[in-house]
Symmetry: C2
Subunit: 327 residues, 2 copies
């Protein structure tokens, strides 16, 4: 009996989940739900497409529903609504709003006797896990999180909203000097500017004032003003050719000491180099969908996060096989 998975939302993340379920031998993809007209959607695997409202009718045919909408507009409503009927997974990533989101989803899942796992992905997600493991093992120490080199969609969008900009792609880049200090155990205090730089590739409208656009970017509050930012103007052809991908990644460090006199220093580093941010995030979602199914089968209910899930529940093999091969 394979785990029956369905997807709600068919953007980059939904397509990533479609591919990740396809390669999970213990799972099958049974349905895709979209707000768009199903007839207009061409899937990569031929999975049947339905309108979002039809999901409830298929409740009995779905073990886990993976929600692939956005954190700004879709998930705040969709996750609690779907959690009232399904085991659900989402990648809600508005860090400050996670506690409130958790409460709403938890209530819905408990009432329904289902499991939900929210904020799954790599940050929040695998990075959160590594912050937790690091703090638990080395209570005397410091955390560092770096992002990149990778594409920030939010920063790319912010540039696109500037007058005279046709298209843009922004890369977040960790500073090598800062990484070296952390890896050397120096426990530096790092300002925002000392941790990351920002590099922007911008396609301007014909005749636009490039100097003004550059100035508006590098002085933009919150997004760029606190960073050293580089702006390159390129053609649409160059952007499409050289900056089509959505790579990302980063590192989580825990740098701490042990011993009654703090004599020994230790550094834990967790590093991701991702060719495709949405496909990697999707792969994490699918692993946690397996866990959601298993927890629900064991009679558990309510909302969980990656912090609450035992690692063994993510892996298709059983406990004895894992102990024999991984320990």
């Amino acid at each position: 009996m394979r785990i029956k998975v369905a997807i709600a939302g068919y953007g980059n993340l939904g397509r990533g989940v479609e591919a990740a379920v396809k390669r999970s031998e213990d799972m099958e993809l049974v349905a895709l739900f979209s707000r768009r007209d199903p007839a207009s959607i061409k899937t990569c695997t031929g999975v049947p497409v339905y309108k979002m409202e039809q999901a409830l009718e298929m409740r009995d045919q779905i073990d886990v529903l993976i929600l692939c909408g956005g954190s700004a507009n879709d998930l705040p409503e969709q996750t609690p609504a779907m959690a009232a009927h399904f085991n659900v997974i989402d990648s809600f990533d508005t860090h400050a709003k996670i506690p409130a989101h958790f409460e709403k989803v938890d209530e819905a899942s408990k009432k329904a006797g289902k499991i939900s796992i929210i904020s799954v992905g790599w940050d929040p997600g695998m990075f959160s896990l590594n912050r937790l493991y690091g703090q638990a093992i080395l209570p005397h120490g410091k955390d560092y999180t770096f992002w990149g080199r990778g594409v920030s969609q939010g920063h790319s969008d912010a540039i696109r909203r500037i007058e005279g900009v046709r298209d843009a792609r922004q890369y977040t880049i960790p500073l090598e000097e800062a990484l070296q200090k952390v890896r050397a155990g120096e426990n530096p205090d790092l300002s925002i500017r000392e941790k990351h730089t920002r590099e922007c590739f911008v396609v301007a409208e014909e005749g636009a004032d490039l100097a003004r656009i550059e100035r508006e970017i590098v002085t933009m509050p919150n997004y760029f003003a606190d960073y050293d930012t580089t702006v390159h103007f390129i053609s649409q052809e160059e952007l499409d050719r050289d900056h089509k991908g959505i790579p990302h990644g980063g590192m989580v460090f825990r740098s701490g000491t042990t011993g009654l006199e703090d004599a020994h220093h230790h550094i834990i580093e967790y590093r991701l180099q991702l060719d495709s941010n949405p496909e990697f995030t999707a792969s994490v979602l699918v692993a946690y969908a397996r866990a959601a199914y298993r927890l629900n089968q064991r009679g558990e209910k309510g909302c969980k996060t990656v912090l609450d899930i035992a690692p063994a529940d993510l892996h298709p093999a059983d406990g004895a096989a894992l102990r024999a091969s991984l320990l």
Copy 2:
């Protein structure tokens, strides 16, 4: 109410646990048990010392007993024996014997209604966890584990058994070229010789045949014959001055692809740089002691490994605080 922890065995690992419990605000160290005469033991924190046989009399005063003996001679008997009376943690690290050890300990713990967590540390332990997470997230991929730069006690002991050797210290060193290939996503097939080199610092007896000692080291089956090994003869003073520490570490990689056509490549790297192998291992043991206590409080019983423990159970903060600060 702090968690009452006791230690069985007072070598490097036991001293590391003593220090790690001391800095865990939710724990207190209530007893140390040793096979040696308690009067002969001077602890670092003043914790009361008892004979090993007295442990059972103190059953009601101990929430978790951390077993700090060796995997070769102590733990195979001691963990099942103590699991019949206590929640226990051990660092059993004879990889091939873990499944059999698990079965014996599981039976004892279940009968006693207690929790045991075995094979805790960094390998087995945190490295096992990272192999599991990597496989679960990227099912199409390869695992790589590298060790070092660090001291291998087993290899150092093997050198000390050679005639004419007074003392020795062996370092395991990962090959930079191999690491670069893995980090570049080349998914290389690596022979034993291509992954690690071994560097030996040897103190010879006066008048010993150095050429013979070196030959016996580099040709020693299992330990050195499959590696490129370097031997340095130094004085006891130099060994004591420059090679007193017990550093170790290493990396676990998962290198895999996503997408229906495997178009995107991802690399997950987990890296440890440890000044003190026993103190870091001890810190992991203490975090899992917290989890053992909590699981037992919730009525669970039986043997677990790091693969079975939800990350949140390792951290002193509660779920709401973790969600607010770590996700």
